[in-house]
């Protein structure tokens, strides 16, 4: 039995941050979960799906984040407890609906988990979603470790129900993707039934203003709740003049930095878990004798600015307090927080000697790293159909010769910006952004614009965000060629199903919505090709480039990682008697140009060679080798 369903209150287990959030929801008796996959949030719905039957939870991968929030809100309105989880740009996608349900209010507990990604380790932006809490006047909780992630999630449902408002829980990559000790709570006996009652309309002008006033009253109530919250506490000496005010991941970085510098007797730490609205009385009580504070948080100076407003309002009580943080330049308002950064801020404010690594040692090891470590850049996996698709696109654009270019999108295909995609992709912004941009480029002909434009996007992205732009291209007859790289799943985040997959989050059969049917319905020409049939695909793509108006090419081949689970693959090898190495004139096409990690340049033999450990047996290289030296093992040649 997994830790998620363990009914042993008080037992300590190792839990991933996202599992802890899921467990908190289970302990709160969550009934409904909707989400779109996105790092670092994906494991939350996946965890709930694993125990969906046992705890009678409905879980779905929604088409996109705003749909996820809408369907989850329906559950809340019907009196159920619902959770939505998303990565940071997903909060932007659902913001339109969020800015309406704050006014109409909700019923059953509704928790929105916003998973931010400081340092953009797997994101296209660095966003601080906490700003949405202030923007939408919604209560905000920031867990500092896995235990709090569980306990706060559980509490967030109660809070949401009490206030009749969605509650935002903000996590970050280093929490969602860290594993730590978690002491389990009890599991609920839940027996909720769903029923619609009441009115949820934000439309009427006078009513809206009244709703807005009510929203502010609800936030006042949240503020009262927060004053007594166990998630806010002070740690440190009784009469510290210098206090670190911190939230979320900043708490442990701060505590360790203070400890490492031996400042435990001089510096106190005020840890705030409920960061909007701020628990003002609690904070004021702990800043009475303080003259300096340092604010530690990730990423924007959200807490810092709100604290400064509070200090201005409390100037009579507190007197002047010097505030250090992002504005003072002691900590960056970008990138990831670390213990080292907090320590650096402390030593520079206090005029202490900074802790540094032995300079000579660092020079030596850094030099070694430079001399010995060849660069390791992310690449399409061995056997990835996108490698072939981008090769086809590159070849067709070259044949066309009009300086055409590719607008890109989110997901595995975005790796196509680099070497492994032959540097074909020239723009990447957000889900669906590539086709929208391309549709604009496709209307510039009256300004002497004559470059062909190809918009690529993955299949999951197509459903998520590309359809409105494609409709736009159709009704305005934009000159755009869209290439959908259909690999049969949401690959980048771990192969979650989408509307074309034919199964749901629990693996149960589901109806499919075909991409080519959608295109036909919109009224655009669509062709479906296998990108591994390279010469045919190049010819067809070239032909489509010569046409005008909106057109769609679907390159359909299942992600090899999905495929490999289902069948035994063929073993390929390079016949080194046939490969003639550098005499071929192919410029080491398979290993150097096509660039698949499954093909190695054999230095000794000066011939290509298949790395049988890495090779997935996709066989596309065999169709590309100019002299047919790549063969299937055991097959008649």
């Amino acid at each position: 039995m997994g830790t998620l369903e363990l009914n042993q209150p008080g037992k300590t287990v190792l839990m991933l941050g996202n599992e802890a959030i899921a467990r908190g929801a289970i302990e709160a008796g969550v009934d409904f979960c909707a989400a779109y996959p996105g790092t670092p949030s994906t494991e939350i719905p996946e965890s709930l799906a694993r125990v969906a039957e046992r705890f009678n939870i409905y879980v779905e991968w929604s088409t996109n984040e705003i749909v996820a929030l809408e369907v989850a809100t329906a559950a809340s309105i019907a009196g159920l407890r619902a959770l939505v989880a998303m990565k940071q740009p997903g909060v932007n996608v659902c913001a339109d609906f969020l800015m309406a349900i704050n006014l109409t209010g909700t019923n059953g507990g509704l928790v929105l988990v916003a998973a931010d990604d400081p340092r953009a380790m797997s994101s296209v932006n660095e966003q601080d979603s906490r700003n949405y809490a202030r923007h939408a006047d919604l209560p905000l909780l920031e867990p500092a470790d896995c235990q709090e992630a569980k306990d706060m999630t559980r509490w967030a449902f109660e809070l949401s129900e009490k206030l009749g408002l969605p509650c935002i829980l903000r996590t970050v990559t280093r929490l969602s993707h860290s594993r730590r000790n978690v002491k389990l709570g009890d599991l609920p006996q839940k027996k909720r039934t769903a029923r619609f009652k009441g009115v949820y309309i934000c439309r009427d002008q006078d009513l809206l203003v009244a709703q807005h006033a009510t929203l502010h009253q609800k936030l006042e109530r949240a503020w009262e709740e927060f004053e007594a919250s166990q998630f806010n506490f002070y740690a440190g000496p009784g009469k510290a003049k210098f206090v670190i005010v911190t939230s979320g991941s900043g708490w442990l970085y701060s505590r360790e930095a203070v400890g490492a510098l031996g400042l435990q007797d001089k510096v106190g730490i005020l840890k705030i878990g409920t960061t909007w609205p701020l628990p003002e009385k609690f904070i004021v009580a702990h800043l009475k004798n303080v003259t300096e504070i340092l604010v530690v948080e990730e990423v924007d100076p959200f807490l810092e600015q709100n604290i400064k407003i509070m200090l201005a309002e409390q100037a009579k009580t507190l007197g002047p307090i010097e505030v250090y943080g992002a504005k003072s330049g002691h900590l960056p308002a970008y990138g990831e927080m670390t213990q080292d950064k907090v320590a650096h801020a402390l030593t520079s404010i206090k005029g202490l000697k900074p802790r540094v690594r032995d300079k000579k040692y660092v020079e030596k090891v850094k030099e070694l790293a430079l001399a010995y470590i060849p660069p390791r850049v992310p690449t399409f996996c061995t056997g990835c159909p996108h490698r072939a698709s981008l090769w086809v696109i590159k070849s067709a654009l070259k044949l066309d010769g009009r300086d055409g270019f590719v607008t890109g999108d989110i997901g595995c295909s975005s790796i196509g910006t680099g070497l492994t995609g032959y540097f074909q992709v020239k723009t990447v912004h957000c889900m669906g952004g590539g086709i929208g941009l391309a549709t604009g480029f496709g209307k510039l002909d009256r300004f002497a614009f004559d470059q062909p434009v190809i918009a690529i996007c993955g299949d999951s992205t197509f459903y998520h965000a590309a359809i409105p732009a494609l409709i736009n291209a159709r009704v305005h007859n934009s000159n755009v060629l869209m290439v959908v790289l259909d690999n049969g799943g949401t690959a980048m985040t771990g192969f979650q199903p989408h509307p074309g997959s034919g199964f749901d989050v629990l693996g149960q059969p589901a109806p499919t919505v075909e991409i080519d049917n959608i295109c036909r319905g919109i009224g655009v020409e669509v062709r479906v090709r296998d990108p591994f049939e390279i010469s045919q695909a190049v010819q067809d793509l070239y032909d489509m480039l010569q046409e005008s108006g909106p057109r769609v090419m679907v390159f359909r081949r299942r992600c090899f990682r999905i495929e490999a689970k289902e069948k035994l693959q063929k073993k390929y090898f390079v016949d080194q008697t046939k490969c003639i190495g550098d005499d071929c004139g192919c410029a080491r096409f398979c290993s150097r140009v096509f660039n698949c990690p499954g093909i190695v340049w054999d230095q000794q033999a000066q011939r290509a060679m298949i790395d049988e450990v890495a090779c997935t047996g996709c066989g596309v290289c065999a169709t590309l080798c100019p002299i047919g030296a790549i063969l299937v093992r055991g097959a008649a040649s």
């Binding site: 235990q147 790293a369 470590i373």
Partner: protein, 224 residues
């Protein structure tokens, strides 16, 4: 329980797809069984696709640690791949760091394409020896093997090395919890192979003092 060094900082480094996450999960669960506070921080997402990956694993008898190890403060490094071990030393190593490394390279694209050279593995190991307190080379993958469960062999080597204050049976219990029953036998065998390769068989009850001596066991038939 007290630790001689608290927190004790471990980094498991490798390349996406080597099973870094499972390795750190086994080690961390064993740490919790030992009654310690454990924090694991993992890199994944885009790094899954052939990029360098590492897990920071931190043990403390006193309190929960932050997710990241400060620069230069790794006590133990497990390299699932030789140059990845060297890469970690650059940011997190110090002269007292101890290293367990698998000598089997995973070639970056630039090397596969013949555009960059992968340094001879013996040389990488020699360089490692020059900058840390101890290096143990553990040949987790034999010639011709695919590297299946090599991550678990390396966890076994870590357990057997006695560098962590965690008893071997706690590692095995953690394997039983985490690995699916179907793969348990294979993984237990891999784990025990690692324990033997590291030279330790008995359960280690107390934290081990850092060794001054450098133990190097480089197999001559290393696959380069």
């Amino acid at each position: 329980m007290t630790l001689e060094k608290d927190p004790l900082n471990l980094i498991i480094a490798g390349v996406g797809g080597q099973g870094n996450i499972l390795a750190s999960q086994i080690v961390a669960t064993a740490g919790i069984k030992e009654g310690l506070y454990v924090t694991v921080s993992e890199t994944y997402g885009a790094s899954q696709r052939g990029g360098p990956v590492m897990s920071h694993v931190r043990f403390s008898a006193k309190a929960q640690c932050g997710p990241l190890i400060p620069e230069g403060e790794a006590d133990v490094i497990v390299g699932l791949e030789p140059i990845e071990a060297l890469r970690i030393i650059g940011d997190y190593g110090n002269p007292k760091t101890r290293v367990i490394v698998s000598p089997r390279p995973i070639y970056p694209i630039s090397v596969l394409a013949g555009q960059a050279k992968y340094p001879p593995v013996e040389e990488v190991v020699q360089k490692l020896v020059g900058v840390v307190a101890e290096v143990r080379v553990v040949k987790a993958i034999e010639e011709g093997e695919t590297g299946l469960a090599a991550n678990v062999v390396m966890v076994g080597a870590l357990a057997g090395s006695g560098m962590l204050p965690i008893k071997i049976n706690n590692f095995e219990e953690s394997l039983r919890e985490i690995v699916s029953p179907r793969d348990l036998d294979l993984n237990l065998r891999a784990f025990r192979k690692g324990v033997e390769l590291a030279g330790g068989k008995a359960a280690v009850l107390a934290p081990v003092k850092p060794t001054r001596k450098r133990v190097i066991r480089v197999d001559n038939r290393l696959n380069q």
